[in-house]
Structure formats: C-alpha cells, structure tokens
C-alpha cells in the first residue's frame, strides 16, 4: 500500500494569536509556526502502518508558501519517504487544496490519503471531505483508531454520541483525530537526514488549478472579553441570580 499524507503549516498552538490592527487577518510575522497538530497524528499513523509492514511508501505533501516545506521536512524526519510541496502564495481555501490533492492523487496513485481532521487556524474541517467527493472515494473522518485489513479499513470515529466504528474500502480518505496516537519525536540524526532529502516542488498554476479565494473575508475580530465572575454567598442568592439576572431558570 502507498499512503499520501497531507500536512499544513499553521501558527503554533501555544502562540497567543493576535488580530491585525486593521482587522484584515491575524499577525503571522515572526510568529512561531508548526505543523497542524492532527496532521502530526496523520503522519504518525501512516508511519505506524508502514512499520507494521502493511504499507510500502509514505509520501508527505503540503500546499502553501515556500516555508510550508518545513512541515514536509518534519514528516520526512519521522518516517515519510518522499516529499512534495505545491507552491501557492497567499490565502488558499480548502476547495483549492482538495483540487490540488486530487491532481496529486491522480499522479501518485496512493491507496490511502491521510490528513488531520481540521486545521487549527481556520478550523474549516472540509479538505478531506471535499477530496473524497472529488475523487469519489469513501471517507472516514475523525478517526481515533484505524485497523488495516485486507482491502478494507476498520475505522473508529469520534462522533458526538461517542464512538462509531465503520468499515471503508480502499482507496479511501481518512481524517485523523488527536486521540488516534501520540506522535513521535523527530530524532536529531533523522532531522539531519531529512534536511538532505529533496522535496519535489510543483507550482499550483502548473497543475492548472485556480487557487483564487472564493470567500470574501469582511473582517477579523477578537472575541469579546469575558466579564469577571462573581462570588455568591449562598444557594438562595445563586438561585435568585440565575432566575432574575441570568434568566436561565
């Protein structure tokens, strides 16, 4: 089996994201960037499957500006065999990414495509689903457990009611939940080896994909500040406040 894993470069999850003063977006200059956390789970799962002998090759791919390559480099350092970087500058939306991935799937012919369930920057949670639709492949989203069988996968999904186990035929798209596994550390020698591997670079325009955003972003604002709480003296006061002030009971 061959697995294609898609990774995205996002603002690191520890960074306090700040809205630009002109409300056109968030500040990214000199901000620490990392691989989208559930994408790390996707890479880890692919590597585990390869280690168990059920996959032969892992190809990591990212779509984005020049520095997005860092995420592919990291995937290479933890066990991906090859890397692809599709270069796009500026904002890129999930539909354009899935169209690009479709082209790459046509070329690479993987049996599985793994990626994170959603990216922590725009929280869209769309790319996997759109790619499945474009390819007309089955999909298993929010995977927290994956078992590889002969021509199928048994996937446990994190759903609102609890866990749902489904079986999908290969080829398939799998989007990964944070509970799927614990991503390994990249060791220093492996990072060094990964630095020496070449990453195939492709321009999005050469794939014939129009990456122009379809959504007009009107304004980006910080969420309103939470007001400070109050301490109540006793249960009576609490009930009274819930009734008369909060009007919830």
């Amino acid at each position: 089996m061959k697995i294609l894993v898609a990774v995205k470069r996002v603002i690191d999850y520890n960074v306090q994201v700040r809205v630009k003063e002109d409300n056109t977006g968030v500040v990214t200059d000199n901000v620490k960037m990392s691989t989208n956390p559930p994408d790390d789970n996707a890479v880890e799962e692919a590597v585990k499957i390869k280690e168990s002998g059920k996959a032969k090759e892992i190809v990591a791919i990212t779509v984005g500006e020049e520095k997005a390559q860092e995420t592919v480099r990291k995937a290479l350092a933890v066990g991906a065999d090859r890397g692809i970087h599709v270069k796009v500058d500026g904002v890129i939306e999930p539909l354009a990414v899935s169209k690009i991935l479709q082209k790459i799937v046509d070329k690479e012919k993987p049996d599985l495509v793994f990626m994170g369930k959603q990216a922590i920057d725009d929280d869209c949670n769309q790319t996997g689903q759109m790619l499945a639709a474009l390819l007309n492949w089955p999909q298993a989203t929010f995977a927290s457990k994956i078992e590889v069988k002969d021509k199928t996968l048994e996937v446990t999904r994190e759903v609102d009611e609890g866990l749902e186990t489904i079986e999908v035929n290969v080829p398939a798209i799998i989007t990964c939940d944070l509970r799927l596994n614990e991503p390994r550390y990249a060791s220093l020698p492996n990072i060094m080896k990964a630095k020496k591997k070449t990453i195939e670079q492709i321009n999005a325009s050469d794939l014939g994909i129009d990456t122009k955003p379809r959504i007009d972003q009107i304004k980006v604002e910080e969420p309103p500040k939470r007001k400070a709480g109050i301490k109540v003296a006793n249960v009576e006061e609490l009930v009274q406040k819930l009734k008369n002030e909060a009007k919830v009971i």
């Binding site: 690191d12 620490k32 550390y185």
Partner: protein, 539 residues
C-alpha cells in the same frame, strides 16, 4: 545504555547573538569546518528577550553589508531622554550631561529575537547545522577531564523518570571545541565555572532581572526612534534598577524594567515594581489607549569585568553572557556578546589549524575593544551599592570626567543570593491591584509568552533539599520565590493551615532568577524537554 554519537569540529550550545556569531565567523574563516548549533527553544529567537537598543559595531565587522542582506535593523535612535522619577513628578536630565556610554544617537531600536532569526538564516546559508528544540543537557568529558562535547536531552520521559512509549534517547555530540553560549546563568556554563574554578580570584557575579512588554499605542503617543530611560521611583534608593521605554516601528513601544538581584528586602516583588512603574504619570500617559501585546522576563549579567570568569578550559569556551560580557552602564550586551563569539571563532581556527592553546581566546579578548569597553565601565555598577545618589555622583566623576580611567577598581562584595535580609526586619510592601488596563497580574502576563512544557515530564526546577522552602526559607525570608519569579512558578499554598511549597514548572519562562536569587542556592534550573518554554515573537 549507549547513545548515538555524532562528530563535529565545533558544537555550539545556544542560538543567541554570541552563539550565532561564533558559528557565522567560523564558517566565514573556514567554509569547510563542521559546525553544529543546538538551541533549546522551538525555533531560533523564541527564547530571546532584550530591550534592545543595538550598537552595530560587532555586526559591522561580521557582515559589513548587513543592510543589503536585509538585517531587521531599521529604527535609528532619533531622540533621547533620561528621567528621574519621583512618586508623582519627574525631572528630565539633560542628555548632554549623560556619560558617553549612555548616549545612543548612532544606535538602533531593534528586536533582538528578530535579529537572531536573521543571524540564524545567515548561519544556515553558510552551512551551519542548527537544531532548534534540542537542549544540551549534559557535558561529556574525556578521561583526562577535558571537554569532549555535550549530550542532548532524552525526550519522552515521564514525571517519575520512566520512559514513555514515545521515548527518544538523547545523542552525543562530540567536538574538537565545544562553545557554551547559553546566555546569562546557563546551566552547563554554571557547571563548568564551578568544575574548572573559572571564577577563582574574581568577584562574585552580579545579576539583574529584566522585564519587557511590547505595547501598541496611539499614534499621538508614539515617536518612532525615541529612547527613554528612567531611574528612581518606584524603587527605593538602595535598590539598583531602572526602566527603558523605546519607541519602535509600527506604533510599538518596548517597555521594560531591570532590577538588580542584589536587592535586600525579601518582600520586594520585581514583577510588581515593574507593573507599578507603569502607573507613573510620565509613563501612563504614553500607554493610555494602547494595548499590551507581549510580556517576558530574563535574568541578565551585571557584574562586568570584575566578575568575568576565565573564558577557556580544556576543550571548551564560554562566550557572551554565559561568561558575562554585558556592559552594564551602557545597558547593552548584544554587541559585546557577538564580538566575544567572533573572537572565540578566531581562536578556535588557530587552535584547530595551528594547535594553539585555547587560552589564545582570552589573549585576543583582552586586546579587543570589548575588553576596553568593559574596563572603562567597570566601576559604575559597584558604586551603586552606596545607594542611588552617591552612585550617580560617582558615576558622573568616573564616566564624564575620567571616562572610566580612574586608577582603581571597585569590587562586588556579595553574591546576589547573600543579600536578602530577614523578612520580619524588613518593611512589607503593599502593591496596588492590577487594573487590567495598564497593570496586570502574573497569570495573564505568562499567558502572553506562549509558554508551554509537555505534560508529564520531570520537574526541571530541582530542589536540593525539598523541605527547605517551608522549614527555613518561608520562616526566615517569607519564601521570596513567590515574588522574584516573574511567572508565578513558585507558590506557598495552605492545606488545613499547613504550608506547602508548589512548583508550577510548566509556567517557567526560563529566566533563571530562582537559580540565582534563592538564598540557600537550593533551586537548580535544568533544561526541560526540548521546545518547551516561552514562544516569544519579536522580543
């Protein structure tokens, strides 16, 4: 257990101005030399915090074409002010009466973190192998006692020291010369200074704690290129310290406060002094209507030449503030740190090529402009042990009349951990509550640093005696760790009226103040898992 081994010509520990300058200079002198640089932060720059008014002297030598190479150095100092603050009022000190070391008209207001990011790129372009997220946690010695290299931290160890599933052992990096560039109070540098008695015959090192906030302010309150320093309020006259207010690009103000860690009152809270400082009418008016966007703190070196340890030992060198090259009266250490690294690089080349002894580093250092600068500056800080007024008078005579050439050297008498007086003999300080507009608490401040440490790892703040904080330090000094820590790592909590010492190590912003100021030297700072700690942006 055997670890993987990698060999280099030179291994550098720390990616700040001194380490990066060492790496760059090495590659400029000999492109074939193999250089590896380890950095504990998740990326170069993420643990860098500095004022910073930058003197370009060392950079001019390292990259004469830094402007062409687009170094992030743009805002030239255009105006200078020095204020003595009283509680309500302030007196402006005429700039022409400032000693030459405190004049900044040729300098630039920069973010040192961004400069380091740029230096990191230059170093990588020259072929230096940089590994962020890999702290050196252990020094490796040869049988003859010389330094063989360093080992990186094991990853994936749980809080009890057991290996997790994700365990990844550290590796050994061996080098002909290992350069320690960890910055002020580096934990390996500390081990070396003790082991090789590098401070023998020198004065005890002196430290300060520096705070910095970045504010985005109203256009009307902003004057790009303006540099202001203050002394006086809110500190009493026996506490050494002062503020900086730098008007940087993009309507930002770099605002900070430095307090000498030789303060005596255990009730003093450096963090709260800084917060209180911002409420002074002369400062508050600039901040009003603005927004605080960053916070951080870091210990810094103040000891100067008298406290500068020997900087070489068999197989290794100390550079920058891992030794202590900061020029205190100038309030600058970046250019001297860079220069010390560049000199170290020259010495290493001589050592490898011509087999010269590493002591050639100190010979070269003593002939350089850094030494001259530090020599002229040497008497300023110790004179402030007589109090602010006498310190200023002496400094005027020393720096303006004699230009640092007085024929004697004042000494630093005490280490900073020895200066605290007993708590019940010293006045308690009532700090005003934060208003969350101009002043803030520690929790909301630490939040801005982006600090994180992986859960379930060993506590990286080690107590030699775990009973001591409650049994001794609390009774005698009212456990000052609660106050000197700028991140609220240390707390004394009461359960059933019994005090308990709590270490919230996940909040640690790697400033090293606890390692310096703890009166019994009971706290040792060691490296946590790689990539942990703050994620500073343009600090």
């Amino acid at each position: 257990m055997s670890r993987e081994v990698m060999e280099y010509d030179v291994v550098i520990v720390g990616g700040g101005p001194s380490g990066l300058s060492t790496a760059i200079k090495l590659k400029q002198l000999n492109p074939d030399i193999n250089v590896c640089l380890l950095e504990k932060a998740s990326e170069i720059g993420a643990h860098i915090l500095s004022g910073n008014v930058f003197e370009t002297r060392a950079l001019d030598e390292l990259f004469p074409n830094w402007k062409e190479l687009k170094a992030p150095i743009e805002t030239k100092v255009s105006k200078e002010k020095f204020l003595f603050l009283g509680k309500e009022k302030s007196i402006s000190w005429p700039t022409w009466l400032l000693p030459k070391v405190q004049q900044n008209h040729k300098n630039y207001i920069i973010s040192l973190a961004n400069l380091c990011r740029w230096l990191g790129e230059q170093a990588e372009n020259l072929g230096v192998e940089i590994f962020p997220g890999f702290p050196a946690s252990e020094i490796l010695y040869n049988e003859d006692g010389s330094i063989k290299g360093v080992a990186t931290q094991d990853m994936g160890v749980d809080k009890d020291g057991n290996k997790k599933d994700s365990f990844e052992p550290g590796i050994e990096l061996l080098a002909k010369v290992t350069v320690f560039a960890e910055g002020c109070r580096g934990h390996l540098g500390k081990e070396l200074i003790n082991k090789f008695e590098l401070s023998k015959g020198k004065d005890p090192q002196q430290y300060g704690i520096g705070f910095k906030e970045i504010w985005e302010v109203n256009e009307n309150n902003h004057e790009e290129g303006m540099v202001m320093h203050t002394a006086g309020w809110p500190l009493d006259k026996n506490t050494y310290g002062g503020s900086f207010v730098y008007h940087a690009q993009n309507k930002q103000i770099y605002l900070g406060y430095v307090i000498g860690l030789d303060y005596q009152n255990p009730h003093l809270s450096p963090f709260d002094e800084f917060q209180r400082f911002k409420t002074h009418p002369a400062i508050k008016k600039t901040l009003e209507g603005g927004k605080r966007i960053s916070y951080g703190a870091r210990a810094l070196i103040e000891g100067g030449l008298q406290s500068l340890p020997k900087m070489y030992m068999p197989g290794a060198l100390l550079v920058g503030c891992d030794a202590g090259t900061l020029n205190m009266p100038k309030i600058k250490g970046s250019h001297t740190a860079m220069k010390s690294g560049m000199i170290a690089a020259e010495a290493i080349i001589d050592h490898i090529k011509e087999n010269k002894d590493l002591s050639v580093y100190e010979e070269k250092f003593n002939k350089s402009w850094v030494y001259k600068e530090l020599h002229e500056a040497r008497n300023v800080k110790p004179s402030f042990s007589w109090g602010l007024i006498l310190g200023i008078i002496f400094t005027g005579i020393d720096q303006i009349l004699f230009r640092g050439k007085l024929p004697f050297t004042l000494r630093h008498k005490h280490a900073d951990h020895e200066t605290l007086k007993i708590a019940n003999k010293m006045p308690k300080i009532e700090y005003p509550k934060p208003d969350n507009i101009i002043t803030f608490d520690k929790t909301s401040s630490v939040y801005l640093t982006g600090t994180n440490h992986t859960d379930n790892q060993p506590v990286h703040l080690k107590l030699k005696d775990p009973e001591l904080p409650i049994k001794y330090t609390l009774t005698k000094y009212d456990e000052p760790a609660q106050r000197y820590c700028p991140a609220g790592v240390y707390e004394v909590q009461y359960e059933n009226d019994l005090p308990k010492f709590v270490i919230n190590s996940q909040n640690c912003i790697h400033c090293k103040t606890c390692d310096i100021k703890e009166p019994s030297q009971n706290i040792t700072w060691v490296t946590p898992e790689g990539g942990g700690g703050p994620k500073y942006g343009n600090m």
